[in-house]
Amino acid sequence: MSDSTSPLTSDLDDSSWRQVADWLSGTDIEFAEISGPEWHVRMSRETSYLPKQTFDTSVRTPQQGSLVAARVRKVVVTAALAGIFLDRHPLRSSPLVKSGASVRQGEIVGLLRLGSVLAPVISPIDGVMAGNLVISGALVGFGTELLEIRAGER
């Protein structure tokens, strides 16, 4: 959240993020996800399953616990609709993006199949494919975490 140049969080300034963090710290909510058209931020208590090093900075609140927010180094891409997650096109034998490969913002990194329609799963950032969080062929609901993209170059 210190990096105001990040394309992910540019819609909200640092003080806004701090305020959201403060609000959350007074609740039992374990995590909150906030999305814009081009970005997705997951805020969580430190006990959350996400490895600590995925966050750039942490904010100590006056109360207990620490809430951390992003400049997200790792972006979790979630399902925009319910469907079958596919890591490859039905006509292809290899995945759209292999783990460790570079991806560009806007690139199709997976597919969600609704019946016969194939909807794209898009990388919100330039980065590196860190891996799928669900297996190809799995039925996923709205908001299911599908895959992770690590920001930056390979």
């Binding site: 925009a80 609709l81 006509l91 913002q105 806007g106 019946g115 016969s116 329609v117 794209p120």
Partner: protein
């Protein structure tokens, strides 16, 4: 509006064809792979029978002169929009000035024989005898009654349903477009053909209903008809597919008067090498007919390139109808899901 920059072969404007004038000797023409044409049209919000461009798998390049939604269906070959590779059976929006290239370099995995370029609003060429299809033999319909050449500019029609136009919210997801599970997956041949029973060479099975003169062939010859892996020869095109395989000879020669012939009819001329009539076939012929490829499998033939092998699988009339119903169901479901997806805010 789009402009043809280069075309390697007989790329033509086609719709579902001219079906009401066969009695006057006018062949149907129309897209060889009608399922690909229909799905591509649905992907861009057109009615399934709007006119598109049929592109034999060879380099083909167009420039979009306006911002417009387009789809590529049919053969699975390299699809490139200004340096960006697109998925097969996919639609997205082109910006004015962008260049779409089909085939060309890197088309190593081409599967199929014909691609279809569909554009929102359809290709706007004059309707002749109820169709925009290019009638090559008669030199009418399509774009000036001929195959496309470099420099041709094609207008696009108005969208039949403006609500089908992709909105311009410009989210990355809407820019990326969307696709459809292709018929080769959704309607795969495993329901009527056990590929493991076939020889080592890949074959495309197509279902065939025995035709009027089937009984005139000896049982042994008929068996060869069903059991051979027929090679599609280089002398195969939109008029007809000439096949190579065992000679299907009649024991006694048969004289038939010329009669009506439709796409899918398998004729056996003297010499015994069968010919399957395709979309540009003339509407009558006199050779003995051993069978007819069911309408629901004509797209499989359309996507079988010269040099590939096909196999005939015996089918009944009711099986042919059932196969047509399955194809319609696939289309109808696709139509509903496409409009559902378009209405979603993703």
């Amino acid at each position: 509006m789009i402009e043809v920059l280069s075309t390697g072969a007989l790329s033509t404007v086609q719709d579902m064809g001219r079906t009401s004038y066969r009695r006057f000797g006018v062949g149907t023409a129309g897209a060889m792979d009608q399922l690909a044409l229909a799905i591509g049209n649905l992907l861009v919000g057109n009615s399934p029978d709007a006119a598109g461009i049929e592109v034999p798998v060879l380099a083909f390049q167009v420039r979009f002169l306006v911002d417009i939604d387009f789809a590529i269906t049919g053969a699975d070959c390299a699809i490139d929009l200004d340096g960006k590779t697109l998925l097969p059976w996919w639609q997205c929006r082109a910006k004015a000035g962008q260049v779409l290239t089909l085939g060309g370099d890197g088309c190593g995995f081409a599967a199929g024989a014909r691609s279809y370029l569909l554009i929102a609003g359809g290709v706007d060429v004059p309707e002749v005898l109820g169709s925009r299809s290019t009638q090559m033999r008669g030199r009418f319909g399509g774009h000036l009654g001929r195959a496309l050449v470099e420099g041709d500019q094609l207008k696009t029609g108005a969208l039949s349903d403006p609500s089908q136009r992709l909105d311009s919210k410009g989210s990355q997801t809407s820019i990326a477009g969307f696709g459809i599970v292709p018929p080769v997956v959704a309607l795969d041949a495993s329901s009527f053909f056990d590929a493991s029973a076939a020889e080592s060479v890949p074959v495309t099975p197509v279902r065939v209903i025995p035709a009027a003169e089937y009984g005139a062939f000896d049982a042994a010859v008929a068996r060869e008809f069903w059991e051979a892996n027929w090679k599609i020869t280089a002398q195969s095109d939109r008029y007809g597919y000439r096949l190579a395989g065992p000679a299907l000879n009649l024991t006694t020669s048969l004289e038939t008067r010329s009669h009506g012939v439709v796409p899918g009819v398998i004729q056996v001329p003297p010499g015994g090498q069968p010919i399957i009539q395709m979309r540009d076939a003339q509407p009558s012929g006199g050779y003995p007919k051993i069978g007819t490829v069911i309408e629901a499998d004509l797209w499989r033939l359309a996507q079988s390139p010269a040099g590939s092998r096909i196999r005939f699988v015996a089918a009944t009339y009711s099986q042919g109808l059932a196969a047509s119903r399955m194809a319609s169901e696939y289309l109808n479901k696709a139509r509903h899901l496409i409009s559902l997806y378009r209405s979603m805010n993703v």
